[in-house]
Structure formats: C-alpha cells, structure tokens
Amino acid sequence: MSNTQDLQNLVNYGLVKAHIAMGLVFFIIVGLVGFLYSLQLDGIYPFPGIEFLSPGRVRMIHTAGAAYGFLVNMFAGLLYWAVPRFTGYRVLSDALGWFMWIALQAAVLITVVAILFLGQADNVEWGETPWWIDPIIVFWLLLHLVQFGAPLFKASQRGPLYVSGWYISAMLVWTPLVVFMGNMIPRFWSAGAGAGAVQSTFIHDLVGLYVTPVAWGLMYYFVPIIMKKPMWSHGLSLLGFWGLAFFYPMNGVHHFLWSPIPMFAQYSAVFATVAIEFAVTSVLINFMMTLRGSAEQLKYNVPLRYMYTGAIFYWITCFQCAFHVTLTFQKVIHFTDWVTGHAHLIMFGTFGLWVLGMAEYVWPKLFGKETMYSKGLSEGAYWLLMIGVLAMFFDLTAAGLVVGFDWIGLNPWIDSVNFSKPFWYFRSVLGIMMLTGLFMYAVNFWKTATAGKGLSAELRSDSV
C-alpha cells in the first residue's frame, strides 16, 4: 500500500468526509442541547412554557442524539477509513454506503421530530428513539454488519485478522443484537423487574458492545500508525479483547443495584464489573508501553494527545467503576450527579476526545493536505475540551457525594437541590468552555477543508 492512488481506490473518501462532518455537526448540537438542559437546572431556562422545547424532551435529544447522531456517524466515518486500510479490501458497496448515510441522518432527524414535537419517546435510557424506529435502526445495523463485515471476512480468509479486526468484527455482530434486545424485549416480551434487567443490560451493552469495541478497534489502528511502531504486546491485546468480550455483556444490571431485580443477577453484574477492570488495565498497560520511548510526540501531535488523554480518562472511569459498582458505594451515589459525571467522562472525555483526535488525523488527508489549517485552533480546542470535561467530572462527582449524603440524612428534599446549585452553575460554565472548544475545532475543520492550496506541515520531519 505504498502509493496514494491504491489507498484512494481502497477508501471512499466521500463517505468518510460525509459521516465525520455530520458527526461533528451532531456533536455540537447534542452539546448545545445538553447545555440548554443544564440551564433548566440552574433555574434560567430560556424557553419556559414552550411544549416542544420542554427541558425533559430536550434531555432525551441530548442522550439519543449523542448515541445515534454523534457517535454512530463519527465511528462509521472512521470505519470507512480504517477497515479497508487494515484489511486491504473495499467495503461491500459504495452505493449501500450512501444509502446508509442518508438513512442514518433521516433516522436521527425523525427521532428528533418524534421526541420534541410528537411526544413519542421511549423510556429506555439511551434508547429514547420511538419504538417504531428501533426495528429500522436494527435493519440499518445489519446493513452495517455486511458493509464492514465483507472486507473483514475476506481478509480473514487470508490469515489472522489484526487486533482492530477482532474488536470491529465482534462489534458488528453485537450491535444489532443489543439494539433489538434493549428496545424490543422490554416493550413486547416483558415488564417490570424483568424489563428493568433487559434495559440495564442494554444501557451498558450499547456502551460496552458498540462504543467501546469500535473505539478500541480504531485505537489499535490509529495509535500504532501515528507512532509508526507496533503494539507492545500481542498477548495483552488478546487478553484485553477476550476479557472485554466475556465480562462486558454481563455488567449491565449494575445500573439497577438494590432494585427488585433478583440479587443473583445483581451480584453477577458486580463481579463481572470488577473483573473487567483487569481486562481494561491490561489494555492500558499495552498502550502505555507502546508509548514508551515516543512520549515526546504527545507534545506536538494533537491527534495522538487526544488519544492518550482519552485512554487515561478511560482508565480513570473504569477504576472508579470498580469501586462505585459495589453495593456499598451504590447506597450513596446511585441516582446522584456522580453517575452523570462518570457518564460524561467516559462519553465525552474518552470516546469524544478519541473520535475528535482520530478525525483530526484523518481530515487533512481526506483533502490532500498535510496538516490542519491552524495549530492554534487545534491546541486551543484540545485544552478547552480536556480541561472542561475533567473539571466537569470532578464537579459532578463532588455534587453526587454531597447530594447522596444529604439524602441519607433525611433533610428536606429541596436542600439537595440547593446544595447542587453551585455545582450546576459551574457545570454550565464548563459547558460553555467545552462548546467553545468544539466550535474552534469545527472552524478548524471547515478552514482545512476549504483552504485553497495544500497546507504543509510545520514540522515536516515529524509530521504523520
């Protein structure tokens, strides 16, 4: 794959561009609606009394939009880049790719209209899409399976797949199963505690069996490429993957500890969650040892820095999880902002930063340029996003502890709201910071795409 022409024939640049661009647009939109919702908690919601902008509905756009608008678009775009390049085969069909692109945007927009204007949300967290659109999403995910499964299957006829291939192959099979299970079974084939067990499994599986494997698959592709060296240990890669594949699907019920779900399921979820931290740590050791000797690249290579920052946040989140998944911690932190902080550190701090880093690496190449338009915007966006999300994590974690102990103390309910307010105000300020970072990132993207002549790298010898 030495010459560019071969690679261009392998990758459909248009699809990569279209998915990443829409992913970025939705990232900004879900960020804005999240910020809007935070204003309600601060008591300064700008659109009170307007039915279709009711904060409750807006919050569902924040979560469902982050799943299908932002993450699926971003990951699909990056898969269109990475999968053909590491397998050496094109995706199944370009026409199918464009059809899927249109279908995905349509599904997201229909979801937005249904939730905001028609009031047809579904009370499955992270599956707020109306139930009648869920079979369509499952069908889309089956197309996704054949689209990316084709090159992976062809490549594995020749020999073992690279690490990324395992993660992505498993994810392609898991995702339609997960979405079907989580949205259909609680509605049509169960109720109550049984439905709760399915829903909690779904919440966690969408993170653990879609977002996590696709993101780690891409990490295993981009990190060695950027550093121009192989992963440190193949054995640890195997351990990490099979550990994740076995334990992650069993984690879900930890979302509803102390609930009416039978205790054996709760205990198994706690056990599996603690177990998965070992798998995660093995993956992290592998990445950190790969970095050894190349760490100075983090100083000037922004995409790589995004990836390692995200990786460290990932480990923090998982380490935190090993503790707060216990029944003891759950007494205090369940139902509090602690969980919100945890969710933002993993979704924004890890997966958000990763896709931004990967997209920033890919984007100039898609337009035949060597580097992004502005180093300043690139650096500025990184620092705003990184500091913003980390501070939000600490802010909400602290808020969660305060509120959790306040509830145990049986103080009047309104006290917990009042105690939260300083934390919520600060969270909104951080939201502005993160949104500013995202806007800077988007401006940089736009300028890179539209810059007239090829942008050349400042540090030619170190450019990647």
Partner: protein, 238 residues
C-alpha cells in the same frame, strides 16, 4: 492462536455465544425467577383500583366532578400512540380509568419525567423512611408492583433531581398535584422543575383547568403507589 483471530471465530464466540450467555445470566434467568407473578394490563389495573377502592379511584372521581367539561372532552379524546380511543360511556368507570392511565403514562414518558424522578424505593439509605408511607407501609419496591403494562419498559429511572414517585399517591392530594403540574414553584418553593402549561386550558369562565391530557396525567400520578395506601376510615365504616 491463528484461528481465534478470524472473523468467523470472533463473530461466533464473542459476538453470539458470550452475548447469549451474558443475557441468560443478566435477564433471562431473572425473568424465569419472576415468571409466576401475574402480568396486569391497564384494564386489570383499573378494575383493581375500583374493586379495592384505591385512593386513586377517589381522586379520579373528584377530577371528573371538578372539571366535568374537560372530562367530557377527555372521553372523546383519541390517542392512537397510547392505544386510547373514544369512550362512549363517559363516566368515571373502569374504561375511562384505564384510558387515563394509558394517556397519562404516555405523556409521563414523553415529557421525560423519568429523567429526574425515579420510581424505585431502595432498601438502603433511609429511602423507606423518606419515601415509604409512615404508619401504613414501609415497604421497599418489590417486583410484583412493577409487573404491569405501564412498566414495560420499566420506569425506575437512573437519576433523581426531584423525589421518587412510586409512593406519590400517599404524599400529596389531587389539588396539590393540579397546582404543582401547572407551576411547580407555587407549591414547592425553590424547585427547578419546569411547569407544564400545555396540560392546562381556560374553561368558559376563563379559569385555568387541566385539559384532557392534564387529567390523564394527574390520574396517572395519583395512581402511583395507590395500592399501598389504606382506604380512609369513613370508607371502612361504610
């Protein structure tokens, strides 16, 4: 090890076998344990509320008495998405109660109430003292109270900004609920819950009253936990 790194092996073992094993442990087995709890439809719930004279039944009759004009409109109101059609026998009966639960539940979900209000009293952290019903019931949430159509998917929620609602019937009366739904700050100073004015309309005299969706929502809210509330003394004497 080469075989482990093929598409088909990964897809079959990790993608399907591990996934099914985890689902078996996480929810299929729990469902099997819970399978003997009867599943109630909305009609069953309405019949139960009437037969046992739940507090929600009294609230329902009260709403019909307070807002006869809107109650009439509520009977004619159709909502396909909630599976609720026109009711010809327009009175506080089982049919209209089931319809109110259906429409109320639908908007409870659609407005994202469950984003800030849980419906799950845990056996820890003094939650039974806060949310249980003093002197009447001190129970934590138990599986059978969720085994009905209105808990599919279940409405436990994962975040509380407002209090838990699964024992709401015992906490506030219907008048409080009407005022609170329109303007939460009027009954709960300092709250950051938004108001829901679109569940209200002006009647002939220009007074604000709950509309057909509002009535249904109020019935649903006052139904939550009503099965744990003992009937009042006057009723027991009759």
């Amino acid at each position: 090890m080469g075989k482990m790194e093929r598409f088909s092996f990964v897809a079959l073992v990790a993608g399907v076998i591990f996934f099914l094993f985890a689902d078996f442990v996480s929810w299929a087995l729990p469902m099997f344990v819970l399978k003997d709890i009867p599943m109630k439809t909305k009609t069953d719930l309405a019949a139960e509320a009437k037969a046992k004279n739940y507090s929600a039944w009294a609230d329902f009759e009260k709403l019909a008495r307070y807002y006869p004009e809107q109650f009439k409109k509520f009977c004619d109101y159709e909502e396909k998405f909630a599976g609720a059609g026109k009711v010809s026998n327009c009175a506080p009966n089982e049919e209209t109660f089931a319809k109110a639960l259906a429409i109320g539940h639908r908007w409870y979900v659609a407005e994202g109430c469950w984003n800030c209000h849980s419906q799950d009293v845990r056996p820890v952290s003094n939650e039974t003292l806060r949310f249980g019903i003093p002197g009447v019931s001190n129970t934590v949430s138990y599986p059978s109270e969720y085994q009905n159509e209105l808990q599919a998917p279940v409405l436990w929620g994962t975040k509380r900004i407002g209090p838990d609602l699964i024992r709401e019937a015992a906490v506030h009366d219907i008048d409080w609920q009407v005022a609170h739904l329109y303007d939460p700050a009027s009954t709960s100073p300092g709250t950051n819950m938004p108001g829901y004015p679109w569940f209200f309309e002006k009647n002939k005299d220009g007074k604000l009253v709950p509309n057909e969706r509002g009535l249904a929502m109020l019935v649903y809210l006052q139904w939550l936990g009503t099965w744990e509330v003992k009937p009042t003394k006057e009723w027991a004497l009759k």
